[in-house]
C-alpha cells in the first residue's frame, strides 16, 4: 500500500471541502473494497477522507411509504433491522446475502453503491425497488444512478447521504452466489411496486440493468410461466472463469422465475 494522508471529518460539509481541496482524494466508507484495492495498489489516493466520524450518516427510518437507509449504515444492521424486515423483507435478505459476517459488520450501503461493483447486491435492490439516492447536493433516481462498470452518476466530491426505498407491495431477491466470494454470479430482484413491476439484474452485466421484456410480461400475468421461455441475450454480458455469458444469460431467466414463484 502506498502511503497517504488521513483525514477524519465530523461533518458532511467538511468532508466535501476536504475532497475539493485534495488533489487526489478518496472517501473511505466501510473500506471493504477500498482497503483491498489500496493493498493491491489499484487505488492510490494521496488523501483518504474517512467518513466514519461524520455525524448523522447512519440509521434506518420509515416515513409514510418510504424506508430510508442512511449511507454509512452497515449491512449487518440492515439485515437485522426489524423496521427493514417489516417494510421490505427482501432488502434485509439482500443485506444478509452480502459477503461474510465480518464484511457485513463493516461494509456500508453508501460505499457499496458508490463503488458500483458489477456483482454487488445492493445495486439490484436499488434498481429493482426504484429507490432514490440522496447526495449532499441532489437526489438521483436509481435508473440514472448506475451508469456502467464501476460507474455512477456521482460527481467528484459528491457523497451519498441516504437511500430512499419506496415500499413495494412485494419483492424478493434471488441470488446465485459464487460459492467462494459470495458475490452474485447473477442476482435478480423482482418487485411489484405501487404502479409497476420491476426486474433488476446484478452480476450478469457490466452494471446492474432492468429486463423490460420480463417486466411487461409479468405486468400482464404475474406468474413464472409468463417468463419461462424468455431468452435474455448474452451479448455484452460478463464472462469469466466462474461463468460464461451464455450461462449468465440463462441464469437470469432461472433466477427471475424462482423469484416470481417465491412471491406467489
Amino acid at each position: 500500500m502506498y502511503d497517504f494522508s488521513y483525514k477524519r471529518p465530523t461533518s458532511l460539509s467538511d468532508a466535501a471541502e476536504m475532497s475539493e481541496q485534495a488533489e487526489d482524494g478518496s472517501f473511505l466508507a466501510g473500506g471493504m473494497t477500498l482497503i483491498p484495492a489500496l493493498k493491491l495498489r489499484l487505488a492510490s489516493p494521496s488523501i483518504l477522507i474517512d467518513l466514519g466520524g461524520v455525524q448523522d450518516l447512519t440509521g434506518i427510518s420509515q416515513e409514510n411509504n418510504t424506508l430510508t437507509v442512511r449511507a454509512m449504515t452497515k449491512h449487518a444492521d440492515v439485515a437485522v433491522s426489524s423496521e427493514v424486515k417489516n417494510a421490505i423483507p427482501a432488502l434485509s435478505e439482500v443485506a444478509e446475502s452480502i459477503g461474510d459476517p465480518q464484511v457485513r459488520n463493516r461494509g456500508t450501503i453508501g460505499g457499496s453503491i458508490s463503488n458500483a461493483d458489477p456483482a454487488a447486491d445492493y445495486p439490484a435492490a436499488l434498481l429493482g425497488l426504484g429507490a432514490t439516492v440522496e447526495t449532499n447536493s441532489r437526489t438521483i433516481g436509481s435508473d440514472d444512478f448506475f451508469t456502467g462498470l464501476f460507474g455512477t452518476a456521482l460527481n467528484a466530491n459528491e457523497l451519498v447521504v441516504a437511500v430512499h426505498f419506496p415500499i413495494p407491495k412485494r419483492a424478493v431477491y434471488m441470488k446465485f452466489p459464487n460459492p467462494a466470494s459470495r458475490y452474485a454470479i447473477v442476482g435478480v430482484m423482482v418487485a411489484e411496486c405501487s404502479d409497476e413491476i420491476r426486474v433488476a439484474v446484478t452480476g450478469a452485466g457490466p452494471s446492474v440493468f432492468r429486463v423490460f421484456e420480463m417486466e411487461e410480461a409479468l405486468q400482464k400475468n404475474f406468474s413464472p410461466n409468463s417468463i419461462q421461455d424468455m431468452i435474455v441475450s448474452a451479448d455484452g454480458l460478463n464472462e469469466d472463469m466462474h461463468a460464461s455469458a451464455d450461462y449468465r444469460a440463462h441464469l437470469i431467466t432461472v433466477m427471475a422465475k424462482r423469484a416470481v414463484a417465491k412471491l406467489i
Binding site: M1, L28, G31, I35, L48, A76, P101, R106, A180, S181
Partner: protein, 155 residues
C-alpha cells in the same frame, strides 16, 4: 505519523503510526499480540478476526487509524490466566483444531455469533463461518466445538 489511542483488551494504549498501518499490523507488530494471525491478507480467510466495539472484523482489512477511540479485543483477552475461555476449552475438547493457525480468528468470529444468537443451530454456525477458512479439519469438529462452547458459556 498519526497518534491513535484505543482500549486494547481492556487497557488504554497509544501508538504513533503511519496512516497506512493495518489494524493487524498495529496489534501484532506494535503491541506484540501475535495470537491474531495474517493468513491471506485479502479479507477472505478470517485468521485475523478480532472484535472492534463488540463486533467481529477482519483486522487485515481495517486501518489502524480507524480504531482510534474504539475498544479492540483479541484472542489474548479470553483466557483467565491458565483457565481457558469456555469456547477455547471446547475447541480443545472437540479437536476443533489441528495446526491451529485459523483458530484464533474462528474463535473470535464464533463469539460474535454467540453474542447475537446464544443458541445457534448447526446450519447457523456453518453459515456464520462463511468468512473463516480452515485447511486442516474439514470443519466438522469446529462446528461441534462452537456448539459445545455456546452451551458451556451459558453456565
Amino acid at each position: 505519523m498519526i497518534p491513535v489511542t484505543l482500549t486494547l483488551n481492556g487497557k488504554v494504549v497509544s501508538a504513533d503510526i503511519e496512516p497506512r498501518t493495518l489494524l493487524v499490523q498495529l496489534i501484532r507488530d506494535h503491541f506484540h499480540l501475535t495470537g491474531t494471525h495474517v493468513g491471506c491478507d485479502t479479507s477472505q480467510c478470517g485468521a485475523c478476526v478480532v472484535h472492534v466495539d463488540g463486533v467481529s472484523v477482519k483486522s487485515c482489512t481495517m486501518l489502524a487509524v480507524q480504531v482510534d477511540g474504539a475498544k479492540v479485543q483479541t484472542i489474548e483477552s479470553l483466557a483467565d490466566k491458565e483457565r481457558l475461555h469456555p469456547m477455547q476449552q471446547a475447541f480443545k475438547d472437540h479437536h476443533g483444531l489441528q495446526c491451529g493457525f485459523c483458530t484464533p480468528g474462528i474463535i473470535m468470529s464464533a463469539l460474535n455469533l454467540i453474542a447475537k444468537n446464544p443458541n445457534p443451530s448447526e446450519s447457523d454456525i456453518r453459515d456464520w463461518l462463511e468468512g473463516n477458512l480452515c485447511r486442516c479439519t474439514g470443519y466438522h469438529n469446529i462446528v461441534k466445538a462452537i456448539s459445545a462452547g455456546a452451551e458451556a458459556m451459558k453456565s
